[in-house]
Amino acid sequence: MIRGGWFRAHSGMMVAGAVAVVLVTGLMLVPADASQGDVQRLMYVHVPAAWVGYLAFLVVFLASVGYLWRRTARLDHLAAACAEVGVLFTAVAIASGSIWGKATWGKWWDWDPRLTTTAIMLLAYAAYLLLRQSIADRRRRARLAAVFGVLAFVNVPVVHFSVLWWRSLHQPPTILRPGDPTIDHLLLAQLIASVAVFSLAFVWLVRERVRLERIREAVADV
């Protein structure tokens, strides 16, 4: 009865287990940073959360372009699911970054280019979700959301490059930068593991959310 068998039935537990493992290794086992101390461990939550935000909004963009091209409902569901998950993870990135900022910079929030563009990004996708809520007609909702989903993505590369283009409080990238990553191998391995596991959680959440949406529409059609 269960398609995909045991793995599919237990996929949620496995993803949750993987998240727990990288959190334990990152927050307890890997050495701390030599100058910042333990607070730097927030990196293993902050960076992967921000990465999943970018990734989710990229998929919103691609699915939206795809929807405008092909008009298939599945792509609309995919875009909506990714926007929800992206907003969630971006909020986690902002919250963890805020705590990290208070401990190192001395302030929870400041209007530097990275923080400001990230706030704009969060608001843009919150607006995307509100727009979806406000339109009852399925095809009209999908069409307008797709247009919004394409336009909102404009800001996403700006968020990433803001720390390279403009003067900011936030430091420039450690890994996604020209040249070699500026981080010890062990810390880098932990960061890559965290990013991989958060990405896995993203895929799982989106898949479940798309499935739920399909079921909801099927029920509504009865």
Partner: protein, 143 residues
């Protein structure tokens, strides 16, 4: 086909927006200024100032509860007095973003000292500890 054209049109509009936002922000918004820029402008309105803490320049005046130090951008340095206590990352040579304004005698009066941290991360070695804060209170002296 018209759908493809409209999708392409959206992409073009999006690309144009990126350029506009980029050009607009970079010229209109400057998060902080450097000591050279600030001294050249003779501006005493509230602003943000960025520089590296000049080694050996950090002092705490316990009587007035004020922290003083100099910051430099490599060519120009400015004296700073602050009533705000920075975080433990504050030390010689670190980059700081100050909020405040230029006061008399070309001394910058900061009411906020934010400590930038670098994008470089190094694992702490066994037995090694995080360097202690240089300034732990504005009521006491510097160690």
């Amino acid at each position: 086909m018209s759908r493809r054209v409209s999708a392409l049109g959206l992409l073009l509009v999006g690309a144009a927006l990126v350029v506009l936002v980029g050009v607009g922000l970079s010229s209109a918004v400057v998060y902080y200024r450097t000591p050279s820029e600030l001294l050249a402008s003779r501006d005493s309105t509230p602003t943000r100032l960025y520089g590296l803490v000049v080694p050996g320049s950090v002092h705490v005046d316990a009587a007035t509860h004020r922290l003083s130090f100099r910051i430099t951008d490599g060519t120009t340095s400015i004296g700073v007095v602050s009533t705000a206590l920075p975080t433990a990352l504050f030390r010689d040579g670190v980059g700081v973003v100050l909020a405040g304004s230029m006061g008399p005698g070309d001394v910058f009066a900061a009411d906020e000292v934010l400590v930038k941290h670098s994008e470089v991360y190094e694992a702490i070695q066994p037995g090694q500890t995080v360097p202690p804060a240089v300034v732990t209170s504005l009521g006491g002296g510097t160690p």
